[in-house]
Symmetry: C2
Subunit: 465 residues, 2 copies
Amino acid sequence: MLTPADDRLAAMLPAGVLRDPAPHYTEEPRGRYHGMAGLVAAPRDADECAAIIRACAAARVAVVPRGGGTGLVGGQVMADGAAPLILSLERMSAIRDIFPEEAVMIAESGVTLQAARQAAAGVGRQFPLSLASQGSAQIGGVLSTNAGGVNVLRYGNARALCLGVEAVLPDGSVMHDLKRLRKDNTGYDLRDLLIGAEGTLGIITAASLVLAPVPAETGVAMLVVDSPAAALSLLALAQARMAGGVTAFELISGQSLHFLDAAFPDMRQPFAARPDWLVLVEVGLPAGLSADAALEGLFTAGTEAALVHDGVIAQSGQQGADLWALREHIPLANRHVGAIASHDISLPLSQVARFIDDAGAWLAGQGDMRVNCFGHLGDGNLHYNLFPAAGRTRDDYEPIRRDLSRGIHEMVVARGGSFSAEHGVGRLKAADLARWGDPARLAAMRAIKGALDPLGIMNPGAVLA
Amino acid sequence: MLTPADDRLAAMLPAGVLRDPAPHYTEEPRGRYHGMAGLVAAPRDADECAAIIRACAAARVAVVPRGGGTGLVGGQVMADGAAPLILSLERMSAIRDIFPEEAVMIAESGVTLQAARQAAAGVGRQFPLSLASQGSAQIGGVLSTNAGGVNVLRYGNARALCLGVEAVLPDGSVMHDLKRLRKDNTGYDLRDLLIGAEGTLGIITAASLVLAPVPAETGVAMLVVDSPAAALSLLALAQARMAGGVTAFELISGQSLHFLDAAFPDMRQPFAARPDWLVLVEVGLPAGLSADAALEGLFTAGTEAALVHDGVIAQSGQQGADLWALREHIPLANRHVGAIASHDISLPLSQVARFIDDAGAWLAGQGDMRVNCFGHLGDGNLHYNLFPAAGRTRDDYEPIRRDLSRGIHEMVVARGGSFSAEHGVGRLKAADLARWGDPARLAAMRAIKGALDPLGIMNPGAVLA
């Protein structure tokens, strides 16, 4: 049994780590969970973090780690049980070291993603993880949730960008494994076990991160396609033509464009008649190639193959940024409309187009609603969100909301897809994981959780319900 | 206490799985360990594999998984204790499926790396993992040891090329996780835990593998440099010029060339006077760029920066293959000479050149010997091998052999490097891991091993001594 974080625990903590338990420590962006805080503690280094964990273990108090608090599945807030200690990484916000010649950066967990990106840019490199929430999201959270974003197609998830971690394990020991090595086969992959474990197996306090060269030539285009199937064929064409040069390939639906019109009427859209489907293509190419010419070539080849009907190629950095802004404002436009339910799903690439057709057909039989399907097509990752029909409200759909999500997720799982592509499990999807997870895998997960955190103090209720 | 694999266990196994315990099942390439086999069993599918594991668990018999048997650290042979059951994956050798449009292949663990590469080539793709032993090495072993090779710089280790696994866990359950997804954040990363665990946490029976596009333009050059430091500067230059286009960057020492002369006198070498240091550069570029022009440009820029003194650029596929053949014959030439000790090490890139200097200086004080330092410079991965002085034999060095290796490894570890970059721990380096591994990480590894394999039947003695 866990006990509440109280004065008794406070007296056991290292001096000076307690923070005022301000409301933002118990909030999450969707407002679905109302978190509790018995205490808020912010360590200044891994040893102080370890001392806090040891105190919590001794007092049997739950620890909820807190980064930027931007997670969308409730992993950062505990809504019931004994009030936890919230462990904020906000004071561990140093870039400890940058090795430009190694293309490696050592960042503490409280560094925001944006600050990490700026630090990389400062030495002529890039940290190629890019999320809408990067101004707030912190490296520790980004790793603990194995965050994705728009450049996974080329550079991989957060997992692929981490060479090593410093972490505090549930027994209060500090694992020093900030390696800067591209090859190191010396035992079990604890790093990848902690990445994506959402704070349930330990606290990542710092990480050794991979930087990438800034491509000599970059370009952005927005191309009109008939269908998701055409978009996927265009993706294959682009990849065949540009080797690893396609750095983003985002699908945008006509519904996205209409929502942008409603939410941001002043935002300029490149196509007067809103097309049914668009793709946003970004390329990063070696010196000697013109990104403009490469995108022109893709446009021509796509047109000849009857995949592309119209398109714009950004002629300046500003134009490119404007095209990206359209994509990046879609989640805000969605919020403006108010979703009935949203789904962060992924599918095998060859199943994506069929799923969109089948899910649309199934939903049409469930009631009158609007679907905004958009996302990271190159990764098979769709944000498949349901909205009220015009003139209706989300409350009208409350009776069927859960069944709609269940139906969508069942169609995804049946096609070998995932019900959580990039957001993680948190508390929101712990029951989904219990339902759809492979039983042997779940049993192994529980065994590992029991072995590393026998007291069950680390972020209880997240991932494993 | 484990018991020997005997007739009692044989009677518990599924019908038809037993194989003749031929000598090759208990051999390893270095001949350092003389393995034992109580029984040899070869399942035809995961369920049969699971039944074998359950029988071994019930009888308390050790299981030693066997792929191609090419591992260099003794992970595939048990030399003492109760005779184990050797579990050969040789009959699980089907490519179950290929999805060219997804760039994914589902291969069983007994598929050789070469067969996997050929299957990918058959659909116009590549499986970009390339090892000298690929004709024998099998996918299961390649994953269980997280194998590396020459294209890690561009495509990553085996780990980076695996999207999911089917595996039999030590309790005899089958984990079905052959996902074909680029994004899937649904719980702990069991896949990466099994990858690199060298059969101590379960048996990978099949894997979902990433295929890559075949670059439109490829080229190979061999360039003469003054020093490893110059080679590293050239690498940075090449990467800045070609974004992700550098697919291999191998360091070759003058000693390598002399050993090649001795072992393969008919092999043509491009430079009459054997240089002290060479690099082999391979590039894979998008359509529209000429690999030849890119390598010419690198040569010119390298020359202007006083990094490169001479070079050849392959003018045909055959010439490129001939240059690669020189690199690939180095291990055979080494075997011809007979090493005192060999070290599969990695270092942070900025430490590589200094390490080579410092280690050479230290060794000069230890006795008269020859050093052949070569390997995957782009990954910071050196094969740093010691040989007798001309006219002497390896036996002359037997009294100091262990101290030499210990000294080398200590210098590596002190610089943040790894004592096993790509070969794994096996039995050969289990004591090294116990000595140099981070204590908190080792404790977590032992806890996980105890939780998943409480009877200790899975490849006992490998990784964790």
